[in-house]
Subunit: 234 residues, 2 copies
DNA sequence: GCTATGCTGTGGTCCGACCACACGATCAGG
DNA sequence: CCTGATCGTGTGGTCGGACCACAGCATAGC
């Protein structure tokens, strides 16, 4: 067992046992090193891994925000894993897109199924994003960033934090890919108009509590864009 | 920008540009440190992160297997992220189970849809696993390990490496949870018989090319177990 | 020709030091 | 008494250097 793994196991056990909670802080690196009988560099390697896993956030200085604070940020590690493995070319982008369609259509169906419920505030967030996307003079970059935010917000309506986190990371990883394909579109302005209309229709279907309609609209929405941009669709 | 991030960006760029390939090796830690003008501890922190992300595998000694070898192992990092975030209690197990049902039912539907195709070898793997699960005297531990392998193999039939990887990590993270619930079952032996039969039926539906049937069988199979074990089901 | 022995380069670990930073206590001035 | 600047202290960030264990390979000896 490598020394830095001692720290990882210790932290995971402390988390599971409730000795460490979100918002709490890890002991200082020097303290941790002494407690476990290892050196500070070994502790630091472990803290780096925890940071990459989205479990701690480190900052210098003093005060409540300084040190290694326990957080729960699953999106960034998932994004990093996705990006790195896409870079190795052992993870086809088409699989990522296919996964996106699956998760988003499911989320829309689920959200519509619980429509009478508590989504009012979150639906408002989605509406606001759509309003901002109506602004004139948005660059493709800005538009697609808002688009990504909208889709992530949609997936959050289903109430499954794991699926929402995976969706957010998928969308981050896809973003560059989408932007690179914009020049393939014969008429980006026209496409933007189409996308805006489809967005409104999706939200309307969810609000109306029509699961199957919402799911189909989402699927068609995503597929349509990828086909228009001449990207491979699964 | 922290120094170790220099290494991460460098490696990601090298991967994307094809300068680093699976099976290749990272430059030595000392070399990398000199090239980037940073210290070896900083390089080591980055290598640890890459290792945690499933992109490199380190080993001491010399020869082709030593050093930091580029690999593509997405399952272990996903499992680690899942385990850690489950430990923080900010990721409900019910969401994990719900995700599992979604991915597995989709995989079964997809696999059945492409049944006439090339799955022969992979279907055989699933069959072999089921044969091994028929052995007498299997402990719940052994049985559920084989069960997990079977479900992961099933999700691989759909041909989406991302979904297969996520499923494998979900199953790893769930395993302890499932085992802890076995004592809740009124009659584990009877449950094992039921599960075996359902497994066979699922494979049969896929082989017969019946997507909807396969998906429903999988959903019922998973839901049935969780309900019998008195675990919360979404 | 075969075996044993070192040599070499790899990661693994540690130590000690210094820096930048941010908070909070302390002290000087009003 | 209040307000302000100042310094102390503890945090992570970085560095250089050193030594170890390990595995393969070249070499010397048989």
């Amino acid at each position: 067992m490598k020394n830095y793994e001692l720290v990882l196991h210790r932290v995971e056990a402390d988390l599971a046992a409730g000795r460490l909670r979100i918002g709490g802080r890890l002991p200082g690196e020097r303290t941790l090193a002494e407690q476990l009988g290892i050196s500070r560099p070994s502790v630091r390697e472990a803290v780096r891994v925890l940071e990459a896993m989205g479990v701690v956030r480190t900052a210098t200085g003093s005060g409540p925000e300084a040190g290694a604070v326990i957080v729960a940020e699953p999106v960034s590690p998932l994004t990093a894993v996705l990006r790195l493995h896409l870079a190795t070319n052992h993870l086809p982008m088409s699989d990522v897109v296919q996964t996106r369609i699956l998760l988003e259509s499911w989320s829309a169906r689920e959200a519509a199924g619980r429509a009478p419920g508590l989504d009012a505030a979150e639906l408002k967030v989605a509406d606001d994003l759509l309003d901002r996307m109506d602004a004139d003079g948005l660059s493709p970059e800005e538009f697609h960033l808002l688009d990504a935010e909208f889709h992530v917000a949609l997936s959050g309506l289903a109430g499954n934090v794991l699926i929402a986190a995976v969706m957010a990371s998928l969308r981050s990883a896809i973003h560059g890919y989408v932007l690179a394909a914009v020049p393939n579109l014969p008429d980006w302005e026209a496409m933007a108009v189409t996308l805006r209309g489809e967005h409104r229709a999706i939200v309307a279907a969810i609000r109306a509590g029509e699961p199957e309609s919402a799911a189909e609209l989402v699927t068609a929405h995503i597929r349509g864009f990828y086909q228009a941009a001449q990207l491979q669709t699964p």
